[in-house]
Symmetry: C2
Subunit: 690 residues, 2 copies
């Protein structure tokens, strides 16, 4: 039946297209659209908004690819050649953990990938491997991240040369599987509230690690339940005071290397109690455990001492003056984890959008009387669900590539401005992208109806695995507050005449333009040229951000007088979160516009421009209340934006197949029978046994 | 550590409360709020908006309870006494299916619940059992629904006395487990497009059931993979035409009882091929299968012949004149399934909101400098996530109870108006509530951070099981279109002078008021009395619905000229979906307001009023762009609505514990260690093994 339909599909598409493009019928999209030329000639604005006539998947893929496709293909080809390493669709937790460890071990020892060396030499190559591993199984990506970004990352970034010498190779070749033991039962986001203690014993030159109460049990520690030999344990460094007997000083949270299992026998070491955190919503390939320490002694050398050191005679020294600065420096070094999560989250989104788009093109349901059924992606409601999502995926793709580059630059230059930029941007993008992906996975499942509910078609596994991306390495609500706090800091500095870091630079101009009222003429402009002008779009995003920033600064100042700093912040919390999201969206749009403008091929650029416009206008429409409330757009313009958004979704739908093909995901990564490039239904019936 | 905090919690709450209520600090909520009296005296408007001082969980529970709490307690007590029947947190598909069948069998044969008899005698008692079974395991609820609502429902509602006599008892006592075989690989929503055929053979007085191609394989059929003995198969009735040799007539989709497995040996019967649909995202306690028929012969009597019958000599008769009317009548009888889904979805939402609220009260993180940490539910952002959701849960509770009553009334009276009402309302509520619950389950997980990710804490299982509620028994996007179509029909009838069905009645008044422009004075009113006046709230909801209805009617009329009916509908599809949602929200608000006003206890009524106001204003704020675009609210009023929403969320937070306790969920249903009423952390550590 699909076959009968397929032969007629191009004709039907053409007919439907012509209906949409008929000038007499397009009037509902606003008169201005009738003026859009359908191709050919003209420079400047007209060329910019010319409707692209075709797109080459090869050109688009070439432009999209990161620098490290080679190493990703190495990973994919290795796993394609080793089907026995594939994770089954249904798998019990215990078995999944073993498969995941075998996958990681094979990647390192058989495929010869050395993630820690990559991270050290070229972080962007490391992130490419992390993404590819996540494509094989998100659990594998996370297991790799625990071993290298977290356990390896703490040793390299918080330790000194002696630690590197002792542990680097063992971590890199997996002889030393390890954990990152920060979170406790009672403390996740509030890391400064951790209660585990590391008390220095000058008599033996050791630290004694203790879990003072149930709330301080280390919880959710990846690699701890089964495989870990070591853990980087975050604990308050307690120094006995020499002057008065019995007294002690709390030097704040530090990181310590604690062996947890015997290197040979793998027996849990004395004083350590480990329990299995058990079955999770997803990521069951990763063995999370809970650890309690009872007077566990470690050598003084196991303090990761880059930002704070202790001499044999109990003298504490640090290159940084205060507990808070040391804490910030310690956590600051962990920012790579967030970069990796944002990057991997985008690749999860690509998989979901690809499956949902391909199936929606394949699936035909209902149609005009006595005519063949139409593809469900021809329904306006379905375009509305998936096309702005496809546009966002492209937007996030370019922005996370930019973040990875910035991160690499930071690791080389250590320039203060770049450091500040990467910290806020990685926090904001991690939060924004993972929240978006999480929501989209549900939308994609629903868009694929019943067949989307088969586990083999991936949405459930992707959603369950990805879900915690919103929480780990910084709860999204907390991370957005860090972005807002950074914006407020920059805002204050601006008024002190200081400079802004690069990403924030736009605030300088737009804050000035904000102080004037919106121009009553331009607020009514509704022409397509104007709405698709990147200057209008960027101005709209930045105006909103600037306005939110200025108004929240005033509100916080006012409330601080009566509620104190904490109370005032809380009173404005929703406002602050909106500000942070608005800022991140401004950054994403700017990066997307850059990517469009840099694209050398004209047709490719045309399609990217279509996506970029859809991203921008869809976001403006979603927040149209805000724009209307401040009269930044008049009612007629709001209506025009809405209509153009629907029309752009329709146009993007015309290139939907090519746009997902250009993500260049191998079948090994897509996997879903309904998401295959061809013969999807028959792959599905065969899978079921027909 | 939690214990230390707990002692101080009430004092801290009081201090925080007093900060919020300090008139000098409350000015950010708009001057009007400072006028709200904090208790005592006064009638009329002042009494209506008086802040309730306390709430009795017992009073609230008493008022909330449906009529059938007794039978629900019987179900809960039965399963509480039989812990070996509980579904483990991690369970393989094959085992889960067996557990689920054992649960159903025990419920029927040991606890003595007879669902089909209940459905027949008092549908609302049947729905109460369905809800309770879903509380034990959603798979059990769905398995029960497949057996009774679907398989049993078709026999009772589409068959005649002869079918009832032959099958009723066997279905009720589970001797005859059965399936509902409607969906095919290529056709789900478009039931009229089904391709399975039932060809009458006058020589043997039989029907021959055939699957003509792969696309017609019956797919996702619950109970088919393992347990089913029978299936109600939906197929096109094909009549050989007597006058001309070889010709045949397609009489449209009819339902047939087809035995699929031997009653004694359980062997699959000849000509039938069954494959397992395999692992699903959730509901793995239900065994979905795919069926192919190859010339399977069934007696003529197996046609479920209430709406169309065939005599031995091949004469087709029907009480209904056309194929479309017969089709509508057939599907119309299945509306009970949607009622059950909406009802069960609300109970899933209650479980999630309860766990998330209790944990958020328990969890303390960050706080003012040198002060104890605060409950995360004291954060404005967290109140924003959970309190409008709590209000919506109450709103849905009252509305679905109303729907169940209406359904029971319909089954008794068969009054045409009630039938039309129940059809559109069940479609709309099923779609609206299940979409809302699906989104909320993700929000609740995220609100509980890492501990929300432990499978034992339920959000993953609830989300995975509930997910398909958005798709089965009518895809939500399709159901909302039915609501929109019904509204348009009523709209046309209004202009022909006809009457409107009960639920739609409000359109009469508000369409009239819509024709005039919004009053420029009231659009600026921002006083709390006004915003909390149910008349204002209802008017706002209904104004929006009326306006959307009127404008989409005009647009469809216009586009039909150029695009035809199908094209015009598609061109307005997003608009139509918004209209349907808006209408459903209007109905929900009206039912909630009724429930508040009927509540006899003053304090209980006060708290319900708080929730109802939050529900109404939060919805208005979420769609503020629409209201602003038509100048129904002025900017100052929009701002006041936003501020009042935040303030009401804060007030509801003060009763959050009591409000979730009033759902009266037994621990058997809540189950999550972090969602227990007390000692949650220690239940959690014990579960892990400490």
């Amino acid at each position: 039946m699909a076959k009968e339909g397929e032969g007629e599909a191009p004709l039907r598409r053409l007919r439907l297209l012509s209906l949409h493009l008929d000038p007499s019928s397009s009037s509902s999209y606003g008169g201005s659209l009738a003026l859009v030329p359908c191709g050919g000639g003209g420079g400047g604005a007209a060329a910019r908004r010319r409707r692209p006539s075709a797109v080459s998947v090869a050109e688009l893929t070439e432009y999209m690819r990161g620098r490290h496709r080679g190493i990703q293909m190495r990973v994919f080809e290795f796993f394609a050649s080793r089907p026995e390493l594939a994770t089954p669709v249904e798998v019990a937790t215990a078995e999944h953990r073993e498969i995941c460890m075998r996958q990681l071990s094979a990647l390192v020892r058989e495929a010869g990938i050395r993630p820690l060396s990559l991270m050290d030499d070229d972080p962007s190559a490391y992130f490419a491997v992390l993404e590819a591993a996540g494509g094989v199984d998100i659990s594998l990506g996370v297991k790799l991240g625990v071993q290298y970004s977290l356990w390896g990352g703490t040793v390299i970034n918080l330790g000194t040369e002696k630690h590197r010498e002792k542990y680097f190779d063992g971590i890199d070749n997996l002889d030393y599987p390890g954990c990152f033991a920060m979170t406790e039962l009672h403390h996740g986001s509030n890391v400064q509230g951790l209660q585990t203690t590391a008390t220095f014993d000058p008599l033996t030159d050791e630290f004694i690690i203790d879990t003072p109460n149930d709330g301080a049990i280390k919880w959710w520690i990846g690699n701890a339940a089964v495989h870990g030999k070591f853990a980087t344990v975050f604990a308050k460094l307690i120094l006995p005071l020499q002057e008065e007997a019995g007294g002690s000083a709390d030097m704040g949270v530090h990181a310590f290397i604690v062996p947890i299992r015997d290197l040979k026998t793998h027996a849990v070491l004395p004083g350590i109690e480990i329990h299995d955190c058990g079955h999770k919503i997803g990521l069951n390939g990763v063995d999370n455990g809970a650890l309690r320490f009872r007077s566990v002694r470690i050598p003084r050398d196991n303090l990761l001492n880059r930002f704070g050191d202790l001499s044999k005679d109990g003298k504490y020294t640090s290159p940084l003056p205060t507990v808070n600065k040391r804490f910030a420096a310690t956590l600051g070094e962990l920012v790579g984890g967030r970069v990796g999560i944002a990057y991997t989250s985008v690749s999860v989104l690509k998989v979901a959008v690809t499956i949902a788009t391909r199936y929606s093109l394949l699936r035909h349901q209902f149609g005009p009387p006595k005519e063949p059924e139409v593809s469900i992606l021809d329904y306006q409601s379905h375009q509305h669900k998936l096309m702005p999502m496809l546009a966002s995926t492209y937007a996030f793709h370019f922005t996370t590539l930019y973040l990875v580059d910035k991160y690499s630059e930071m690791k080389k230059s250590h320039d203060d401005d770049v450091v500040a930029d990467v910290h806020a941007l990685s926090a904001g993008l991690k939060a924004y992208v993972t929240s978006y992906t999480a929501k989209s996975l549900s939308v994609c499942r629903e868009a694929c109806g019943g067949h989307g509910y088969a586990a083999v078609n991936r949405f459930g596994i992707l959603r369950n695995d990805h879900d915690i991306f919103q929480t780990f390495e910084g709860d999204n609500t907390v991370l957005l507050q860090q972005v807002a706090a950074d914006l407020l800091k920059q805002y204050k500095e601006k008024f002190k005449g200081g400079t802004l870091t690069v990403t924030w630079n736009y605030l300088r101009e737009s804050m000035a333009s904000y102080l004037s009222q919106p121009n009553p003429v331009t607020t009514r402009w509704e022409g397509t040229d104007h709405l698709r002008d990147p200057n209008f779009q960027l101005d709209a995003f930045r105006y909103r951000t600037s306005r939110l920033l200025q108004s929240v600064a005033v509100r916080i100042r006012k409330h601080t007088k009566t509620l104190g700093g904490f109370g005032a912040w809380n009173r404005c919390l929703n406002h602050l979160l909106t500000l942070a999201e608005s800022h991140i969206e401004s950054v994403i749009l700017a990066k997307f516009i850059d990517a469009v403008q840099r694209c050398p091929d004209e047709n490719t650029r045309g399609v990217l421009k279509l996506l970029c416009d859809l991203y921008a206008l869809d976001r403006i429409w979603k927040d149209i209340g805000t724009y209307r409330n401040v009269d930044y757009v008049a009612p007629n313009k709001a209506k025009a934006i809405h209509k153009l958004t629907e029309y752009l979704s329709f146009q993007v739908r015309g290139f939907a197949r090519e746009l997902v093909d250009a993500f260049d995901l191998p079948d090994l990564v897509t996997r879903a029978p309904i998401g295959m490039q061809s013969e999807a239904y028959s792959q599905y019936t065969q899978y079921i046994g027909f």
